[in-house]
């Protein structure tokens, strides 16, 4: 067994109402790897994130998910989290009556104060706030990042951590990702931001439920900007162009 491989997805399909949302996904994430995933809206990035986390309604139609050498395809969300996987949603859930302090104290390996400081929120002002809709969207997303940091997972899936966050605060997210890496976590980073996507050397391009390519970040982004942005179809990519990547 290759201990360098943290997550392996093998021949994974996901089908809803006869429609293939994900098709023959094969993907490996190494220990400590930061792996950005890019792709136009509706290509299946969040679906893949949900399947890896094991959310209800997201059981693969076919294929296996292996984590730390163990087949986790049939495990519950809790069991996966206990093995070290966590997910920060594209739009995080709100909780009526749960305070930030309490939320950041669930299985935490870092103090809530430290975690808040990391995401640029003053603990004095935020610790006793409730995680309801009185928090702005950006504040809520930062708290989600703080919670991910504080549980020190082996694998974290960040689904568009930059959406709804002002450009000036982009550095905060990048810092969080570097800190995660420093702590030994692997990161799957779903993003539409070029700056985010180029945080790693390699990235994954998804199109219409497929992984088109995993490869050199700069080349793939260039390809994406040339071909994907204006592409209406989707699915077929000129093999020649693809092979140049």
């Amino acid at each position: 067994m290759d201990f360098d491989r943290l997550l392996e997805i093998k021949n994974l399909y996901f089908n809803i109402n006869g429609k293939d949302i994900l098709k023959d996904i094969n993907l490996t994430v190494k220990k400590g790897e930061i792996l950005p995933i890019i792709g136009v809206n509706g290509t299946g990035k969040s679906t893949l994130a949900s399947i890896i986390m094991g959310l209800s309604g997201y059981k693969p139609t076919r294929g296996r998910i292996i984590f730390k050498g163990e087949d986790i395809t049939d495990l519950s969300v809790t069991a996966r989290a206990k093995l070290g996987i966590t997910l920060a949603w594209q739009i995080p859930a709100n909780f009526e009556g749960i305070a930030v302090r309490e939320y950041l104290s669930i299985n935490n390996k870092m103090s809530p104060e430290e975690a808040l400081n990391f995401v640029g929120l003053n603990p004095k002002s935020y610790m006793d706030r409730i995680l309801d809709d009185s928090l702005s969207g950006g504040e809520r997303k930062r708290i989600e990042l703080a919670s991910v940091l504080s549980i020190k997972p082996s694998l974290v899936i960040l689904d568009e951590p930059d959406s709804g966050i002002d450009i000036a605060s982009m550095d905060i997210i990048l810092n969080v990702i570097h800190e995660l890496k420093k702590n030994g976590s692997s990161v799957i980073l779903v993003t539409h931001s070029k700056r985010m996507a180029t945080i790693a050397d390699k990235l994954v391009l998804m199109c219409n439920g497929n992984i088109v390519k995993k490869g050199d970040a700069k080349k793939i982004i260039k390809f994406f900007e040339h071909y994907c942005k204006s592409c209406g179809h989707i699915g077929k990519i000129d093999e020649g162009v693809l092979n140049e990547l």
Partner: protein, 313 residues
């Protein structure tokens, strides 16, 4: 010295916390068991009169004009025997420009078959403010019939904030009925939180009448049900004057079992410049909330508990 007072304060100590405030000479308070007033403490600007009535006590509370009572006034009502009927008929008058906060604790720890009737009238004169928080501590099995009723009127520029909480022990049969009239620029927020178990039967009716211009109000309820508990929630706001604003918010969560819930928000407006909104939801614990907590490594049951505790907090 007073055996019943000792027993009530003992229970208070265990369930709620230190009794020093409850018995402090500088804090307004009244302690009642069955139909007897066990202790009473008036402070500057706070007057409490009482009379014995059939099966209970009639209380009149006045807070004088321009008086600000900073420490909460404690109302502690209990039934030490396991069976019986208790009627508390209260009238609360908050005079002009006064401020007061009441903390009411109702203790029915020994209840096997108890009927508890609370008929309240609340009057706020102009520019007054009253905060009223009531929490019930029922026994875990036993039949408790609770009838909290409030008729209220809030003067111009006045503010009433009311919260009723019954999350400890069996809710039993509870029938809440609030009717509050609001005058110009007044505001009123009422909140009811109940945890229903076994065969509990919960009825909540919260009605606000925004009769004066710029009056605003919220009628909120949070009910969590398990087992065979039942709840019917009716939240009503009527915008009867220009620039009034109101919001009815009923949320019922069935977290387990064969519980039954219904919600009926009723909003009406008879002035084009009034804006009243409502939201009502009945459902299981929100899936995304649940899975977010599970993704932090806690079990489904623990996650449900945390969410339910949050809703009822």
């Amino acid at each position: 010295m007073n055996y019943e007072l000792d027993r009530i304060t003992d229970i208070y100590n265990k369930l709620i916390g230190p009794t020093n405030e409850l018995l402090d000479r500088n804090t307004g308070s009244i302690v009642i068991n069955e139909d007897k007033v066990l202790s009473i403490n008036e402070i500057n600007g706070l007057h409490i009169e009482y009379n014995k009535i059939t099966d209970g006590v009639e209380i009149n509370i006045h807070v004088d004009a321009d008086i600000r009572i900073n420490d909460p006034v404690h109302l502690c009502v209990g039934m030490l025997p396991s069976e019986g009927r208790q009627v508390i008929r209260s009238r609360i008058y908050i005079h002009r420009n006064a401020y007061v906060k009441f903390l009411a604790h109702c203790i029915f720890q020994n209840a096997k078959h108890i009927e508890h009737i609370m008929d309240s009238e609340i009057y706020l004169e102009d520019s007054a403010e009253m905060i009223y928080k009531e929490e019930h501590f029922n026994s875990d099995d036993g039949e408790i019939y609770t009838y909290p009723k409030i008729i209220g009127e809030i003067g111009n520029n006045s503010r009433l904030s009311e919260e009723f909480k019954l999350i400890h022990g069996r809710a039993g049969n509870i029938n809440i009925d609030y009717d509050i009239k609001q005058n110009e620029k007044s505001s009123c927020d009422i909140m009811t939180k109940i945890f229903g178990k076994k065969k509990d039967n919960i009825k909540i009716k919260e009605s606000l009448y925004l009769n004066g211009p710029y009056a605003s109000g919220t009628a909120t309820s949070r009910v969590v049900l398990i087992d065979n508990a039942k709840s019917n929630v009716f939240g009503e706001i009527a915008g009867n004057a220009p620039y009034t604003r109101g919001h009815v918010d009923c949320q019922e969560v069935i977290s387990d079992g064969d519980a039954y819930a219904s919600a009926t928000p009723k909003i009406s407006v008879n002035n084009p410049l009034s804006q009243i909104t409502h939201e009502a939801s009945i459902g299981r614990v929100n899936k995304k909330e649940l899975e977010t907590l599970m993704a932090h490594g806690i079990s489904k049951d623990e996650a449900i508990q945390l969410i339910v505790r949050g809703i009822l907090r």
